[in-house]
């Protein structure tokens, strides 16, 4: 399973306007091509997950994730904020990149957890590339993700 396969062009936002966690989640969910009711339910599910524990794992990375019965397949979205978002992260630092994952309640092969693990590993590599925040187009971004994925494969 490759992260890049889940990242379509419309799933990547380069210049998140929001300054806070709640607003950033709203901004990202709003981009989803779903009815307003479904978006509201997804947002609630994400916010509920944040109450169970922040998904800001430090070093400018956040991986909000939740399950919702309103989706039939796993979805991944990326939001980038060069200016940073107040996210109540574990290390108190602002967040520059958000990987947002929504999964249906039941996925037979447990793709959800596998994807979570892969994203956590990839994001740690991504932030070492200091200029990743300067990327402002999908083609360059997906090329970088693919390159990082390949290097991770080599390590295994």
């Amino acid at each position: 399973m490759l992260i890049s396969q889940f990242l379509k062009k419309e799933n990547v936002i380069f210049d998140l306007k929001s300054k806070t966690k709640d607003k950033a989640l709203e901004e990202m969910v709003d981009k989803m091509k779903l009815s307003k009711e479904k978006k509201d339910l997804i947002l609630l599910s994400l916010k509920q997950r944040e109450i169970l524990g922040t998904t800001g794992i430090g070093n400018g990375i956040a991986i909000p994730h939740a399950r919702s019965v309103v989706l039939d397949k796993l979805c991944l979205y990326v939001g980038i904020s060069p200016k940073g978002i107040e996210y109540e992260s574990l290390d108190g630092k602002n967040v520059n990149i958000i990987f947002l994952i929504i999964a249906p309640p039941l996925d037979s092969s447990n793709q959800y957890l596998i994807l979570l693990g892969k994203i956590a590993a990839l994001s740690k590599k991504l932030i070492k590339k200091k200029d990743y925040l300067k990327i402002d187009n999908y083609e360059d971004f997906i090329a970088l993700i693919k390159k990082l994925e390949e290097s991770m494969e080599d390590e295994i």
């Binding site: 109450i51 169970l52 019965v69 309103v70 039939d72």
Partner: protein, 118 residues
């Protein structure tokens, strides 16, 4: 969409997440990734109660019974005519188009509350 159905979905999504984090394997996977699962027991109880208060008692009773029977996922999605709670196809004319997501419909096989995703 029926507002009561929306609350039931919200409750079901929350219960799914709570149930998952009770699962040792999933919890340790999350922690190994770097997430901290805090036990803010009071906040969670409050959040859950706030949703439950909005649901009509009769429906809540139904939800609790299903939840108790299957441990989780009292609300199931219907995908291409199949209940994803028990993976049984619904009878062809079981529900009219107009009633989908507008009335509270349960699966004739497993009894779960149904939500049409299409």
């Amino acid at each position: 969409m029926n507002i009561q159905l929306q609350y039931l979905i919200q409750l079901s999504d929350l219960d799914t997440q709570l149930e998952e984090l009770k699962n040792e394997r999933i919890r340790s996977k999350e922690e190994s990734i770097g997430f901290r699962v805090q036990s803010k027991e009071n906040e969670i109880i409050k959040l859950r109660e706030n949703i439950r208060k909005k649901i009509e008692p009769e429906l809540l009773n139904k939800y609790d019974k299903i939840q108790k029977r299957y441990k989780m996922r009292a609300v199931a999605q219907v995908n291409e005519g199949v209940c994803y709670g028990c993976f049984t196809a619904l009878p062809t004319s079981y529900v009219s188009e107009a009633d989908k997501n507008n009335k509270i419909i349960t699966c004739p096989n497993c009894g779960r509350i149904l939500f049409w995703i299409e």
